[in-house]
Amino acid sequence: MPDGWVLFAYALVYVSILAFGSLLARRLVAVRKRLEE
């Protein structure tokens, strides 16, 4: 099992990518909703 420091690095990268992706997706959905109104 990898060292905790390595897990921390992976957690940082994966959470950042997921956060960035979900931020873009949520903003896209919100702007489209405003366009439909």
């Binding site: 060292d3 420091w5 992976y10 940082l12 994966y14 992706g21 489209r32 366009l35």
Partner: protein, 242 residues
């Protein structure tokens, strides 16, 4: 979200999982031990920074030649994703450096410093775009910066060859690569995974820009009913034909 967008998100998630599995499957390094696994996210992040800024440069040249609004949007989207991955490359490099080099950061290291300068220059690119309201001015100035700033990419890449400082030289792109086959496989799988994620993120960013532009145009036309479409969506054909 459209079915295409949902597929992109789920595909990216599946690939991320595959990348993590391959990173665990790869053996520990004889000297670095498990810390070598950080390279499977650090190297792809750095590669994506280069790719993103390369795409931004190509899109900037396209804008300067054709005055295409799409090229401007591609450049802006690619830089925003590139800055994100440059930050990840810097952070993962620091996390790896602490146990292996004994330090998070070395102010005298050529690779670290050139990468940090590149990060801040492209942050400046994003700030420049936010600072200019006129779409044509914004596109022109950021296109010039998008081309000029790319000069840093070869400097960052060759910094480990030109200056002998803390960061090690090339591991794979050299005449006699010595990397273990399973480590190379893990690295290649993650390079592919991160490249797909870059494409997905840029596509989302592009669609978001397009939707925001439509919203802005609608709000402007609502605020300026007399000016109408002339204010809402400037005719770029005029400039293109000039």
């Amino acid at each position: 979200m459209t079915r295409f967008e949902k597929s992109g998100l789920w595909g990216a998630l599946a690939l991320l999982t595959a990348g993590a599995v391959v990173a665990v499957w790869s053996p520990p390094d004889a000297i670095q031990g498990d810390y070598v696994r950080i390279m499977f996210v650090h190297v792809p992040s750095a590669w994506l920074a280069f790719l993103a800024f390369g795409v931004a440069m190509a899109a900037s040249i396209t804008w300067l030649v054709k005055r295409s609004p799409t090229a401007d949007a591609v450049a802006a989207s690619s830089v925003s994703v590139g800055v994100f991955f440059t930050a990840l490359a810097l952070l993962t490099g620091m996390i790896w450096g602490r146990p292996v080099w004994g330090t998070f950061w070395d102010w005298g290291d050529a690779r670290m410093m050139t990468t940090a300068v590149m990060f801040f220059v492209y942050l400046g690119y994003l700030a420049l775009r936010r600072a200019i309201d006129d779409p044509l001015q914004r596109a022109r100035r950021s296109a010039v910066l998008g081309v000029v700033a790319f000069a840093q990419v070869p400097i960052v890449h060759f910094s480990v060859v030109w200056w002998r400082t803390l960061h090690q030289g090339p591991t794979i792109v050299r005449p006699d690569p010595t990397i273990d086959g399973r480590m190379l496989a893990a690295l290649l799988v993650n390079l592919f995974t991160f490249t797909v994620i870059y494409v997905v993120l840029v596509l989302f960013r592009l669609r978001l820009s397009s939707a925001e532009e439509s919203l802005r145009a609608r709000m402007l036309s609502a605020e300026n009913p007399l000016a109408g479409s002339a204010v809402a969506s400037p005719d770029l054909e005029v400039l293109r034909n000039a």
